[in-house]
C-alpha cells in the first residue's frame, strides 16, 4: 500500500460516521477522488456518487456503505449521566469500560461494579439500559452545555497495526469497503472502459439498508457490485462448520445464493482464477443482508454481486481485516470491470 493510500485509510478510520451522520466521512472520500473524478455529487439522503461515464449502454454501480454502528443520547439524568440507545446492531456486551466521543465531548461507558452485582446477574451480559456514559459532568446543566438529546457517540478506539498486515479498528465495517471502492475507482479512472461506472458511498446501511434503496433507485444500474465485510470464522469458537469456513487472508468472500446473480458470480470466479487471486465462497441461502439485498430489488431488479472482505470480531471495537485481502478485493474488482463487456444480459439461464 502506498503512502497516500495508507494516510487516507488512517483518516477514514479516524472519522466518526454513525448512521445518519456521514457528511464528514463523505467529505474525506470526495477529497480522495476529486482530482480523478470531476463530477462528484451528494443527494439529500447523504449518498455520494462518483461517475466515470461516457453514456455507454451498460451501467454498473459499485457501492460500499460508509456508515458505522454507534450510540445515541436518549436522555440526560439529574446528575449529568447520559442514557444511551444503539444505532444499528451494537453488541452491548462489548460496551462496558469503553471510551467514547461525541462532537464536543469525550466520555466513558460506566456500569455497576462486578462486586455490587447480585450473583445471578454477574455472569450475564449487561444490556444497554443498564449502562450509561459518564462525561465527568457536575450535573444535568453542565452536561447539557456539551451534548444534547439525539447527538451521537462512537467508541474512541485507535487503529492498531498487527502482524502480517492485519489491522484492528472499530467500524472497519464498512469503512474498509469504502476504502476498497475509492482505490478501485482511482485505478479505473486511468483506464478506458467499455461500460459506465458509478461509484456510490451509501449511507444508513446499519439501520436497514436505507441508503442503498434511495441510491439504487437514482442510479438505476444494470449491474451492482457491493462491497461489505463478511465473517471470517478462523478463530477460537468460530464454529466454521456451522457458519461457513472462511478465513482472514483467504481472499475476497463471494456470496452465492438467491441474493446474487449466478452469471456474475461465475464471471468473478473466472476473473479471479485467471489473475491468480484467491477467493472464498459463502452460502447465502436467502435475501442478502448487505446493501446488495436492497440493490437487487431496485426498480425492476438489478443483477447483483456481494463481495466480502473477511472480518473477525464484527461489530466490536476490535474488528480485524488483513490488508492482503483488501488488495485482492481491489485487484479483483478492477480486473472484472476492465473485462466487463459493453453488452450482453445477465438473465439467469
Amino acid at each position: 500500500m502506498n503512502r497516500s493510500a495508507r494516510v487516507f485509510l488512517e483518516k477514514l478510520l479516524a472519522t466518526p460516521s454513525p448512521s445518519g451522520e456521514e457528511s464528514a466521512i463523505q467529505d474525506q472520500c470526495a477529497r480522495r477522488l476529486e482530482k480523478s473524478i470531476p463530477k462528484i455529487r451528494r443527494d439529500v439522503h447523504g449518498n455520494q456518487y462518483y461517475p466515470l461515464t461516457g453514456f455507454r449502454a451498460r451501467r454498473v454501480m459499485l457501492s460500499a456503505h460508509v456508515d458505522e454502528i454507534g450510540l445515541m443520547v436518549q436522555s440526560i439524568d439529574g446528575q449529568g449521566f447520559l442514557k444511551i440507545v444503539p444505532i444499528g446492531g451494537v453488541d452491548s456486551s462489548t460496551l462496558p469500560g469503553q471510551r467514547v466521543r461525541g462532537a464536543r465531548v469525550s466520555g466513558v461507558i460506566g456500569t455497576q461494579a462486578t462486586l455490587f452485582r447480585p450473583e445471578a446477574e454477574s455472569k450475564q451480559n449487561a444490556t444497554i439500559d443498564k449502562l450509561w456514559v459518564d462525561i465527568g459532568a457536575r450535573d444535568k446543566k453542565d452536561a447539557e452545555s456539551l451534548i444534547g438529546i439525539g447527538e451521537t457517540l462512537t467508541l474512541d478506539t485507535p487503529l492498531t497495526w498487527l502482524r502480517n498486515d492485519r489491522i484492528a479498528a472499530r467500524g472497519l465495517d464498512n469503512r474498509i469497503g469504502a476504502f476498497i471502492l475509492t482505490e478501485t475507482l482511482l485505478r479505473l479512472a486511468r483506464r478506458n472502459l467499455k461500460v459506465d461506472i458509478i461509484g456510490v458511498t451509501t449511507v444508513q446501511e446499519e439501520v436497514g439498508l436505507r441508503g442503498a434503496r434511495t441510491s439504487g433507485y437514482q442510479t438505476a444500474p444494470d449491474i451492482a457490485i457491493n462491497l461489505d465485510v463478511n465473517f471470517a470464522t478462523d478463530h477460537p469458537r468460530g464454529d466454521g462448520e456451522r457458519w461457513g469456513e472462511t478465513s482472514l487472508s483467504g481472499g475476497p468472500i463471494l456470496a452465492r445464493g438467491a441474493g446474487v446473480n449466478p452469471r456474475l458470480l461465475a464471471e468473478f470466479q473466472t476473473v479471479a482464477a485467471k489473475a491468480d487471486i484467491p477467493v472464498q465462497v459463502r452460502a447465502e441461502p436467502t435475501a442478502d443482508g448487505t446493501d446488495a439485498g436492497a440493490l437487487q430489488l431496485a426498480r425492476g431488479g438489478v443483477a447483483v454481486m456481494d463481495m466480502g472482505i473477511p472480518n473477525r470480531y464484527m461489530h466490536t471495537a476490535v474488528e480485524m481485516v488483513c490488508l492482503h485481502d483488501v488488495e485482492h478485493c481491489i485487484e479483483l474488482l478492477t480486473q472484472w470491470v476492465i473485462q466487463c463487456p459493453a453488452e450482453g444480459d445477465y438473465i439467469i439461464p
Partner: protein, 353 residues
C-alpha cells in the same frame, strides 16, 4: 384555539376512520380545506392532496395520517356474537368492557365487547390480559340471521368514545393518533394560504399508516416531493411509570417533539430548529436511532430519497381510547410548520453538509 378550527378538530375526532375505511374523514377534510387549498384531489389508494402554490419548482410534502386503529368483524357465530380481529396495533388489554360501533352497510350498529367474567377465570389467569380471540362483540342479536341483517363479515369497528376536554387545555379522544397530526398540517396550510411562499405545498392526509405506512408509500411516490414533514403523535412520558430516563423525557404542553437521527435529514432538522426560534415555539427533542414507525420512514425512502423531518405531538396513553394531548402543543406545531415553510427559498438545498 379559533372556534372554527376547534369545531373542525372535533368533527375529525368524531368521524370513524379505521385503516382502509377513510372515505368519510377525507370528505370532512375536503369541506374544511376548500377555501384554503388551490386544488384538492384523491388517489386510488384513498390519499387526499391539498395543494397550494403548485407552480413552484420546489415541492414540499406534509403528511398526517387520517386512519386510526380499530377492529374488524371476522366471524358471526350461530348465536349472533361477532368475532373480531385488530386493525393495526390494538392493545387488547384495554378492550374488555368497551362500547363499540360496528360500521355496517346500512348504518352504525352499537355493541359491547364481552369477555368471561373475572369470577369465572381461574386464579392464575386473572392478572393476564385477554387476547383478542378470547373476546367477542355483542350487539344484542337473537341469532346469526338477526345479526346478519345489520352486520357483515369485514365490517370495521371502532370504540364508541368521543372528544372530551380536561383541565389546562388538555383534551382526550380515541385516535388523536393521528387525526390531530392531519389537523396540524391542514391548519398550517390555512396559515400559509394567504401568504406569498416560494415552494409548492402538498398537504397529504394519508391513509393506512397504522398497518404499515402504506398511504405514505404511495402518496410520496405520487407527489414526488423534494422534502417532507410527517406529523404524528409522539410519546409523552410525564406520567406515573413513564420511565422518561429510559424512553426519553418528554412532556405534555412543553411543545412539539422534534426527532433526530438517521430518518431525519439534518438540513430539515436545522430548519425546524431555526423556525422554532423565529416563531417562539417551545420544542422538545427525541433521539431516534433508526427508521421511525411513522410516515416519515416511507417518505424518506421514496424513489431516489426525500429530505424528511418528523414533528411529534406529545401524547399520553397512545393506542388506548383515552389518548391525551394539549391543544397548545397542537397550535404550536401548525405555527412551527408554517414558519418553516415561509422561510424556504426556491433554491433551498437539503443535501447534508
Amino acid at each position: 384555539m379559533r372556534k372554527e378550527s376547534l369545531d373542525f378538530l372535533k368533527k375529525l375526532l368524531n368521524t370513524a376512520s379505521p385503516s382502509g375505511f377513510e372515505e368519510k374523514i377525507q370528505r370532512v377534510c375536503k369541506s374544511y380545506m376548500e377555501p384554503y387549498a388551490d386544488e384538492i384531489y384523491k388517489d386510488v389508494h384513498g390519499n387526499q392532496y391539498h395543494v397550494i402554490n403548485k407552480k413552484a419548482d420546489l415541492r414540499i410534502m406534509l403528511a398526517g395520517h387520517v386512519d386510526e386503529i380499530g377492529l374488524m368483524v371476522n366471524t358471526i357465530d350461530a348465536n349472533g356474537f361477532l368475532g373480531f380481529v385488530p386493525i393495526g396495533g390494538v392493545d387488547s388489554a384495554v378492550l374488555g368492557g368497551q362500547r363499540v360501533t360496528v360500521h355496517g352497510a346500512s348504518g352504525p350498529v352499537p355493541g359491547v365487547i364481552g369477555r368471561k367474567a373475572i369470577h369465572l377465570t381461574p386464579q392464575e389467569d386473572r392478572n393476564k390480559a385477554l387476547e383478542v380471540h378470547e373476546m367477542w362483540i355483542d350487539i344484542g342479536a337473537k341469532n346469526k340471521k338477526d345479526a346478519e341483517k345489520v352486520v357483515a363479515i369485514a365490517d370495521p369497528v371502532t370504540i364508541a368514545v368521543g372528544y372530551q376536554e380536561l383541565r389546562n387545555d388538555m383534551v382526550v379522544a380515541r385516535a388523536l393518533d393521528d387525526r390531530v397530526g392531519a389537523f396540524v398540517i391542514m391548519e398550517a396550510v390555512r396559515l400559509l394560504a394567504k401568504k406569498k411562499i416560494n415552494v409548492a405545498v402538498y398537504c397529504v392526509t394519508t391513509v393506512q399508516e397504522e398497518i404499515g405506512l402504506r398511504g405514505a408509500t404511495t402518496s410520496a411516490y405520487g407527489c414526488n416531493p423534494h422534502a417532507g414533514l410527517a406529523v404524528d403523535v409522539a410519546w409523552a412520558t410525564d406520567h406515573p411509570r413513564g420511565e422518561g430516563e429510559r424512553y426519553g423525557e418528554t412532556a405534555i404542553g412543553s411543545g412539539p417533539i422534534i426527532s433526530r437521527g438517521p430518518n431525519i435529514n439534518p438540513m430539515v432538522h436545522k430548519g425546524i430548529l431555526d423556525a422554532a426560534k423565529k416563531s417562539n415555539v417551545p420544542i422538545q427533542h427525541f433521539a431516534m436511532p433508526r427508521g421511525t414507525g411513522t410516515d416519515a420512514n416511507a417518505m424518506q425512502l421514496s424513489r431516489g430519497g426525500v429530505a424528511t423531518g418528523l414533528i411529534g405531538i406529545p401524547n399520553r396513553y397512545m393506542h388506548t381510547p383515552v389518548e391525551l394531548v394539549s391543544l397548545k402543543d397542537v397550535e404550536n406545531a401548525s405555527k412551527l410548520i408554517a414558519t418553516w415553510i415561509s422561510g424556504l427559498k426556491a433554491n433551498t438545498s437539503f443535501i447534508p453538509r
